[in-house]
Amino acid sequence: MPAVTVENISKRYHTIDGEIPALDNISFEVSEGEFIGIVGPSGCGKSTLLSIIAGLLKPSSGQVSIFGEKLTGVNPRIGYMLQRDSLFEWRTIYKNVILGLEIQNQVTPDRLEHVEHLLEKYGLINFRNHHPSQLSGGMRQRAALIRTLAVNPDILLLDEAFSALDYQTRLAVNDDIYKIIKKEGKTAIMVTHDISEAICMSERLYVMSKRPGTIKMSVEIKFNQENRTPLSSREAPEFRQYFNKVWKELDVHV
């Protein structure tokens, strides 16, 4: 059974000035443990699509299923990571990380032990009493990921999760977050407008058209190497070919 099934999703926004078609008949499936990339130009409806899968937004038509069950609202099996880390500066790292547990009334000893374990494993245990401003951009992103993992979702949605970082940090964070997601065995859907990032992280890549967003192309990304990581993928000879293929399809004009 696929982890996520998206069937004929369309979305129109209604405003005083008229109707804005944002998504048009989008369908795809994501199997368990897969890392999916979605790349498309700004404003093509990527965030809209993820909001719908996250259950935060109702589609105009079509439906989303999570492990075969029809999605009706926010679902605890789905974790959502946004563009900025959105750590709360008035909370310590530890308090930030258990935010989701607090909201879901899940602050139980074994959940807290899980959090403790994650902080330990991913090198944030010594920063638990620090405030977000005392951490580097990369560590903040890691804390944000642990906050998402703390509620133990099966599926992660990443909406341009790295675009607020500078280029070097971003390469390192891509690698870091990718390894953590793989180690924790999560299914992931990542949305980005950055072609390189999309290619180096995903196993399958969907290219979206301009608004109203449709899926123009689906590419299987395979590198001839074992234990690929985003950094090693960037080095691979196939990388360039995939890049050109996606670039052509994206049809970027200045």
């Binding site: 926010v74 959502y80 008035w90 935010l99 607090e102 909201i103 879901q104 509620v151």
Partner: protein, 266 residues
Amino acid sequence: MYKQESEEQKKYLQKLKARKRLITALRILLLIFIFVFWEAVTRFNWLDPFIFSSPGRMLNTFIRLYNEGSLMTHIFTTLWETVVGFLLGTIFGILIAIILWLSETCSRVLEPYLVVANALPKIALGPVFIVWMGAGPVAIITVAVTVSLIVTVLEVYTGFLETDSEKIRLVQSFGANRKQVLTKVVLPSSFPVMMNALKVNVGMSWVGVIVGEFLVSKAGLGYLIVYGGQVFQLDLVMTSVLILSVLAALMYFGVQLLGKWISEKY
């Protein structure tokens, strides 16, 4: 950071400290100068001490009032009214702001009323309150509350609306309901705005109470000021104003300390 401070860093810190001391010294000197100057010009009769009073005469008045035993009563009357007015104005202001945030319909309907109420000089309602509630502390506190309430509502509500929408989406993605969005995100992120409203309200409630006492004229520092003016005892007026400014400053610092304490604790 280096464990071993370099000579340059030490010098820099010393310079910073010296400058801070200089500023404090100058502030105190300025205060002393004002009082000495005031005393001198009235002592030499360049200015009429009967109209301008003087630090010496104010001190005498203060001691006389204190010995008569009425001073503390007046101070406490005013202080009590101000603190109650301040607390009510702030608490109700924040509560109303929360209600407006919870119901968009409510805030849209009330918007023009709030704008008009904000523009209205609330003092104008003083006589109305006296007629309704009698010439006593209740009317005075009501004036103080009206003066601070509307500003608090508008300022805090605007602060609520400026909450980072991405943070709200984040907690919603964890399944937060409206109440949780309020308590987990909106209230804590608006803490600086609320502290600011509190500080503004200190001044507002003093204005409200003093004006209320002007109108009611039974007891309190506001009453002393009006009475002193009417019987041409400028010593009494000036002494009361001075006490008033010390009290207002103390209350302001109190609120500031409270804010620091809360933000360190949470």
